[in-house]
Homo-oligomer: 110 residues x 4
């Protein structure tokens, strides 16, 4: 089962900066061969369900092994059977509609 | 690895009522032997990481098999190494602080 | 606009226990006259959009004023125009389907 | 109060494609003068709390006015008092750590 996930990992008990832990997770996801797109509130991930969730489990395990005592992650998980869709497909689909609607309406305007 | 998850499953393409699909997931989680607490925006789940995520995968698989073409789930995932905590522990901990703060302050009040 | 929200507040920089901060938010929501249902991963809230979001803003403001340097909240926000629905309606709707499906099928069984 | 939000709007009752509604929200956020970064599972938003949440409310109102009967949104909401941080700061901070860790270790390599 193909899945698109958006993962946001929040480590607790390590102070206010969390970018070191987020970077560690990003590396784990990439080493797992998954397609990822980092953004300011998490990471888009694309892949097979089992591979994606094995990597997310590994993020929690590795952070705990590095001394993070508590982790609170949030995930958005999307699956569909009507068609195959990539991360880039989703963004492109919205951007196409944005560019269309921004164009001037057809026909004379005055 | 013990995990506390909050799962909210949103099926798309099945109309406006989603309670049938939510009930199907609830049954899957319970048949998996997991501790669950249903609420108005999802279900709290407690158990071993692999058992919990196998059941969540099964929710997506079963709903798709029942004809749901698209599913958008959101999860909150909590793990910690400092101590073992149950779903009921978490609620009790907040309720204790609420009852304490609502109590009259100690000492003479007049 | 009526809204059903599920709010989970995660304070950072205050150690591993977050129940004090969660209890403070719960009091703010209740003092705002909102209907709330506490669960292990957050709080269901029901009310008018402006009142609900004013109270959520106040949660962030009050926690910061109490010395919490960073807050990461997650919200699920539901609105609908087809019918009015309460928090309890949503839970009841799922529970009815669970009890129905658990019952033996009608008619002779042997 | 400055806030960084990640918003994912899921319209129900409009079929399987939701990009038209997501594009409508993107336009509302941009017309409100907010900084936004679209990704495959939502939109990062940066701005003043009141301006950001007024625009999010308007997303729900406009979609309902356009005929969407039910909307389920998820938000990640971040505020902090220790320092001012932009959306781009957050991504840059993680990317710096990723590039550092990817560099070859110091010392002779043969």
């Amino acid at each position: 089962m193909h899945v698109l996930v958006d993962l946001c990992v929040v480590p607790l008990g390590v102070g206010l900066s969390v970018s070191k832990e987020v970077a560690a997770c990003e590396r784990i996801l990439q080493e797992a061969g998954l397609t990822t797109r980092l953004h300011a509130h998490g990471t888009n991930i694309e892949g097979d369900w089992d591979a994606v969730f094995a990597a997310i489990k590994r993020c929690h395990e590795v952070l705990h092994a590095q001394g993070v005592p508590r982790i609170s992650s949030t995930l958005r998980v999307g699956t569909r059977t009507d068609r195959r869709q990539t991360l880039d497909d989703k963004v492109r689909s919205v951007e196409e509609k944005l560019s269309t609607s921004a164009a001037p309406p057809p026909g004379p305007r005055d």
